[in-house]
Symmetry: D2
Subunit: 365 residues, 4 copies
């Protein structure tokens, strides 16, 4: 693991997610760029001192050289520290599981892409919401035509935790609102990319053009905290995407609606064990995770019977477990977001910024 | 009543709405442009034969001349038949309660405005969703600052009844998808105007500019059936508005979210007796119509205790009852949509069409 | 109308309900037992002075004698004033629409039954919740076997308005907690009878025995404010019924669940435009009022398209409109609660009291 | 681990739950009473062959003798195989984490109690629903008086998976409907005990008496599949408890409502990240897991920020993590169900059976 030392948030999430299905063991880490903190964090997590590194390059090199070196690394640092470690491990032939967004710039993203292409190692980007069983089932349903031709996509990711300028010592808020560490995007990078990825993952459609109206509502904020985005997808579907960190009353309101000429679905991340599905002219159905009727699909990625809720960590674990399968040569990783999803996200961030700077104009891909 | 004869939909709604609080009596009508149908409809509704007219102009003249002539007229015809009757009755000094949208063109709308200004009679536009008690309470709450400065508006009006080309004999669908009778707007006129009106009514903010991406998804349709709209409001708030008649699974999905720097609200027309309200940093509250806590406001426009649901017809009745008060000189009609709301709606329709024709560009008001 | 003068609650509800479909006109009344108040109330409601009576017996006699006398009377007095007026009007050959519960004792109830049997006039008991379109549809669905053999009934009617001793001047609370005016039952009579009636109306099953554990939680209260009841239905189904006026957080929480060997339904009065329906082994469906699929039934008793919510008043209006049909000889009134429902309700109240007095034992019907 | 071999359900759940917070390692097991299956299961789970036992007694003895022997054992066998292993490990001084219900008879239960009292080892019963963060917070809220004096408890646990006679080869259904392996209770033992435990855990109240009306709706079933239960709690609160395995449309519908003289709460296991809380006379609040306002409590037992749902496995993991703390001498285990909860559950099962056999009479504790 690179990053994820004391005080970090997403590192702990990755560790639980990797552990749930017992497919990974944490044996080495460069958990912090501060040597002392790296060592202390490693000790807490039961990593042997000789496999706790102060520097990710050293770790890539040393682990690649060991007989019992790590097979895969998780990169859970702030955005500006994704590209270099990813490239270092890919070059060392170690599989990379990297947090999103891919990088802080398209230029960096292209460098990672080149490294992925040159390496024998796999690259997985943890767009974890794709791991929710009913999201995967929705993708299946659309693939097999249950919704007909897709016409409209409605995606939202609304939070309120940045509705006011955060306390000075809020580490999570600090780097996310700092363009140097987060990249030029605020809400669009941190959560907008998730919403876009969810939409493209489920529908199988790619964006053709977008138009964005970004805003920084909180005085003094250097990045956007609210984004209104129109999408035009290849093939003719249209979309709306709202990403906000200032929507008071919203905790982690990631929702997706997809509407085709034969059917429609709606899903809400805060209550992810239900999928609303309507065939045109029939009553609305509530599909459950592995439940009756259309429930087959989701049941493939679930651990407990329907009615026993699974959540964020189990969805995240599905990404890790699929990554383990991919590394072990089992399955084709078709459901795993990788470098393409990363590049799409980087295009999204940069196109949003460009569009908004021009007063809200269309930007083609 | 003008329009609302046999086979009509909204006329019957107006009649119930006007009757609920026992403030109106239906005594005269030009219920159809077909004389026979007008007479037959009048008979069914208990209108005396001598007060059933085949022509609205004749009706305006005759009723204005009678000692016991009508005090107010409801105009419930398709959109292209709003302007002329409205002007005729206003000129005859008879109060006008007119269905929305105001007219089929800004030019017609201006003629109505001139007639309103020249007349001693009142003009009410039945943007009936403003009559929902909790919508009025939301307006009060925003007015008194419960949400702080408004930042974001999210409005949706999604239906699916036009997801396929309707049967030939669907009278309601026929005129709504015919530009001659509905005006150039499809979804934007029929439901988009309601969503915009709801947003401006509740927030007290006016649109400064909009950008629209309209689409006619159903082959052969002459007007839009799906609209993605970005809004910029005077004062700096931003909005998104989705109007759709092809969103499979949606029946009458009119929802509103308003987010300020101190609080946020959400409301859903399909379950209108609840309002979600969050003060930043406090738990979400479920406000009920006349219920505990902040419930005072809505209780002023309600007939039964909280927990006993009121619906669409009662909301509509509130507009009628307020109109009766206004006519009787009681109250200032501050909550009643009138000619200004009508003109705003016409601007909205025309600006959407212009924006979309230009490929999706900003149109200022 | 008998009762329903100034300060009354349910009288106004009856008046709106009777007006919504324009099938009744209010022309006479004995609106209060206080002559002055009766006259003032009548004036407010537009009743001619000569048809405002201070006494219901006088009204029955006078109206029966008039050529243009009333055809039907609504009795909306407190419970202890139901029997005598009902009998007086039935004897005068005037149809009776009476609020529930039927009376304050089985002895009175039997007197009303005798009067109904002896009279040519019709008798309707306003168990208004049976008027909700989806409740009627649920009954149809069960009748035609969609749920199979019914096994379990779960009925709840939970409120909180009597969670504390009410203010002295709360007229509604005062008579409802006074055994002389309400009868021996508190929650069981006021709301428990509604829950039982809803269950028997929807399932078509009759109670065979019950067991009740009644409680008066609020100090000094003379009647029950919380009731836990077990039901055994003829044919083998079992039920639970909870009626409470002290369930903090509940406004008018009347819910019904019915479960058979082939399917199950759930319904909530506070959001009555949806019915959850599951066929065993299939996904849950959300049936809407007149909506797609199974929605046919409810559409027969509805005024606006699905997605436009109807509520308490429209459900109540359905009972009045059916009563008008019955009086006019149209339809067989099969959906109208009448004297049998009234007697069943009285048995319920008395059996609950008996069971609870005996420490919670089974009482057969 | 004892039990939990191939084809078992709850064993895998225990393994994930124990792993989530990285506090346990699985190193030994008697995973099946069939030697071959035990060995194969152990291999699959990475247990060394010399620590895979065919017999739990042998395992208790051998592990107690090892320097690196297990500190704790999880017993995840069918109910009739709880008592003997629990006693064997307790006698060997090894901590026991045992699935519920405690045993199949009170006599067995008392034997376990004696072993717990005689042993230095700890005993934890996995009434896992007590691990849900908001359930623990609800307990805190009631303890500190937020609801005032508790008056009414409404508990339900409704499923539909046994609505028909299950397929022959459904291992989970087979033992649960076999009195020899499940004990005399069907629904009451498998899920009713959970509902009771949840109610007593949250309120801190103990049952004083109960009355049960049990039914086996599915032909040929030897145990109850639907239970209607009335509760009287020490101190005067009253309760209703419904447990059903034949409620078509219900997956794992465990819900709890608690109503006091100052406030009320409601919670639903299928969407466990929300708690509805109402103070009398104030609007309903939606409390989230670690969210704003009253959210403090639940945040202590949660891994991700509010809005990121946690579910069944995380709740279960909280029980395991607390057990680890207890074993390590950290904390007092006050939130952990133990032998007392087990005995209460056994009384519940036996009292239900006795009450129902007597036709539905009160049984005191």
């Amino acid at each position: 693991m690179v990053g994820g030392g004391q005080g970090a948030f997403i590192g702990a999430v990755h560790r639980i997610a990797s552990r749930i299905d017992d497919r990974f063991e944490l044996v080495a880490g460069a958990l912090s760029s501060t040597a002392e903190k790296a060592a202390a964090s490693a000790k807490e997590l039961g990593i042997a001192p000789d496999r706790s590194y102060a520097d990710f390059r050293e770790m890539a090199k040393a682990e690649a050289a060991r007989e019992d070196g790590i097979e895969a690394v998780s990169i859970v640092t702030p955005n500006h520290m994704h590209a270099d470690p990813a490239i270092a491990f890919l070059e060392a032939g170690i599989h990379v599981i990297c947090d999103k967004p891919l990088t802080v710039s398209m230029e960096e993203a292209e460098r990672v892409r080149a490294a992925v292409e040159a390496s024998s190692a796999k690259f997985v980007l943890t767009h974890n919401y794709t791991g929710y069983p009913l999201i995967r089932q929705a993708r299946q349903m659309i693939e097999r035509g249950d919704l007909g031709t897709i016409r409209v996509i409605q995606a939202r990711y609304a939070q309120d935790w940045l509705a006011e300028a955060p306390e000075e010592d809020n580490k999570q808020a600090a780097w996310r609102t700092d363009p140097k560490r987060a990249g030029g995007g605020g809400a669009i990078g941190d959560i907008g990319t998730h919403a876009l990825n969810l939409a493209t993952f489920v529908t199988g459609l790619e964006p053709e053009a977008l138009l964005a109206d970004l805003e920084s509502f909180v005085p003094g904020r250097a990045v956007d905290d609210n984004a209104h985005i129109l999408l035009r997808m290849k093939g003719g579907a249209k979309g709306m995407l709202w990403a906000s960190q200032v929507a008071v009353g919203k905790e982690n309101g990631l929702t997706l609606g997809v509407f085709g000429d034969k059917g429609g679905i709606e899903w809400d991340q805060e209550n992810p064990n239900y999928l609303t599905f309507t065939r045109f002219g029939e009553p609305r159905q509530i599909i459950t995770r592995g439940g009756a009727g259309l429930g087959g699909g989701a049941g493939d990625w679930t651990r407990v019977p329907p009615g026993h809720p699974e959540g964020y960590l189990e969805g995240f674990a599905n990404v890790y477990t699929d990554a383990a399968d991919l590394i072990r040569g089992k399955g084709d990783g078709a459901l795993l977001p990788g470098i393409d999803a990363g590049l799409e996200g980087m295009w999204f961030i940069e196109a949003c910024i460009e569009s908004s700077r021009n007063g809200g104009t269309w930007v083609k891909r």
